[in-house]
Symmetry: C2
Subunit: 321 residues, 2 copies
């Protein structure tokens, strides 16, 4: 099996292990997106070794559930043990023994084939193209914010970062009708955020966090940079909420006393449910393919990762099947 695998470094291998798992579906990968988490894993985050990739569209080749065979699918990335209190509630996202596609204990989507439990798969309607469907995982992650906190249309919300995840957060937050400010570094990405629903965009210049200090009810940190959290903590009002979406390798020095003094709430936010994300996409008036900065065949996967690391780029897609 051909796959983009991380061990000592990131490498295209031609002899990756057969991903087939007993009782699961075997999926032929059509395309897969590179996420900031993938870039962090390559820097050492999460200690994962194996085939990367967790944002994909594919076609089911084999499954004990014959109704799935031949169908075009996306797949939720957490596979639970099936027995713990989390799995009993039908939510494997926090199962302590979970595997996570391309992140933890399970080879991922930058490969010809992958395996996932049948119940993780969602069949795509024909109306949703591959170029849009490949964003379902990060879109679900953005939607998850609204499952965790309530945002009123009278709220003032800021998004720190202008990358691919930040743009999806803007799309989702704009639905609430809130006043929505995005703070980013790149002119073209600031423009895109306006089209996606930001009511104001600010350049992330030195001093912007002082100028706009204590102005927002909710701040979503989606910059992918370790410094993003300090900015978010500066921007939020007393008793306001900071949502953290980015994960990083290593530790960040933080002045946590401001969290106590200003009685801030920090909410960590990770994976979301795919069904509402698919509903949003299927009824979409927005074109997610505008987030795609480049497409590369699996053979050029290492170069695709280099492009994904370039600050001016948004989503890089690896075309596989």
């Amino acid at each position: 099996v051909k796959a983009l695998t991380f061990r000592d470094g990131l490498k295209l291998v031609r002899d990756a292990p057969d991903p087939r798992r007993e009782g699961e579906a075997l999926v032929q990968v059509i395309c897969a997106g590179i996420c900031n988490t993938d870039l962090e894993i390559v820097k050492g985050y999460a200690g994962f070794r194996g085939t990367l990739g967790h944002e994909f569209v594919g076609r089911v080749l084999e499954s004990p559930d014959t109704s799935l065979i031949g169908r075009r699918v996306v797949g939720e990335i957490n596979a639970g043990c099936g027995f713990c209190e989390w799995c009993a509630q039908g939510d494997s996202r926090h199962c302590p023994d979970r595997t996570v596609l391309g992140i933890k204990g399970r080879d991922g989507a930058f490969a010809e084939f992958l395996s996932l439990p049948n119940s993780n798969l969602i069949v795509l309607p024909d109306s949703v193209a591959d170029d849009s469907a490949v964003f379902i995982e990060p879109l679900a992650a953005a939607l998850n914010i609204l499952e965790q906190i309530s945002v009123k249309n009278s709220d003032s919300v800021a998004v720190v970062g202008d990358g691919k995840l930040a743009q999806l957060v803007v799309l989702v937050m704009a639905q609430t009708g809130c006043s929505l400010t995005l703070i980013g570094r790149h002119g073209d990405k600031l423009e895109l955020a306006k089209e996606f629903g930001a009511t104001r965009v600010l350049r992330a210049q030195p001093g912007v966090d002082r100028e706009w200090a204590s102005r927002f009810d909710v701040v979503v940190e989606a910059s992918g940079a370790p410094s993003g959290l300090a900015t978010a903590l500066a921007l939020v009002k007393p008793r306001g909420t900071v949502v953290m979406k980015s994960t990083h390798e290593g530790s960040t020095p933080l002045e946590m006393s401001q969290v106590v003094v200003n009685e801030l709430t920090i909410v960590g936010s990770r994976c979301g449910r795919f069904r509402p994300a698919l509903d949003l996409l299927a009824g979409a008036r927005f074109d997610l393919s505008r987030l795609i900065s480049g497409q590369f065949p699996l053979e050029d996967g290492v170069r695709a990762f280099e492009e994904a690391s370039a600050p001016h780029n948004l989503k890089i897609i690896v075309q596989i099947g």
Copy 2:
């Protein structure tokens, strides 16, 4: 005015400025407690210079509100501008222009006299002795947790720390009927926590955070140590809540990715309302004076601070009037 004042260092001065402020009440201080925040200010936290102390019992000497004169009082420590959106809601705790007794822009309670707005003062019933009333400020701070988060009696709650604030948190949390575990370093303090309502006490030995990892719905960090937050983050279940009560000088390196991956909520918690704290004290079946490890006259204030820093001690009271 005789006062315990922090400038280059902590010193007893005999010529502190007259604390009288136009329109406010002048209070003769009877006694005042030393808080961990006072110890942190002496280390440089909050950049405060002036007379320390914010936990006090006193008697009103002068006031435009003549009904207050001669009454024994406690006082809320935040004095707002009276005009901002916070003050308009009757809550000066987050007024951006607030002064805070002995912490920010206002001389504090380790002095013969202090000044506070009349509306900050609460008259004490005779049934509440000075030895109990002096705990109203930190007891209100502990009660504030239950204004911020809801704790069910089916919840498993841990308190990190066994100091004076941690003990008050135990008292407050025990009222919810939750399963309540305190983690601390000192045998006698662990015993006291049991009497105050802890259902389980654990020694803060190396490895205790691994042994009890991901076991608690709510963890309250009240250790006063910068390392307490990392312990709290380890102990809390996925999607659980960590309440931060301690403030420190400086920044703390934290692996914030676990907050994202486990979707934790961190809630900063500072000052509480005095009225519910007084109600709790007035109907109390517990003896707060058991938290007092020593009492010193104002003349020995510097020594009182040394004693308050000693790890085996709980509350040190400065007797003034």
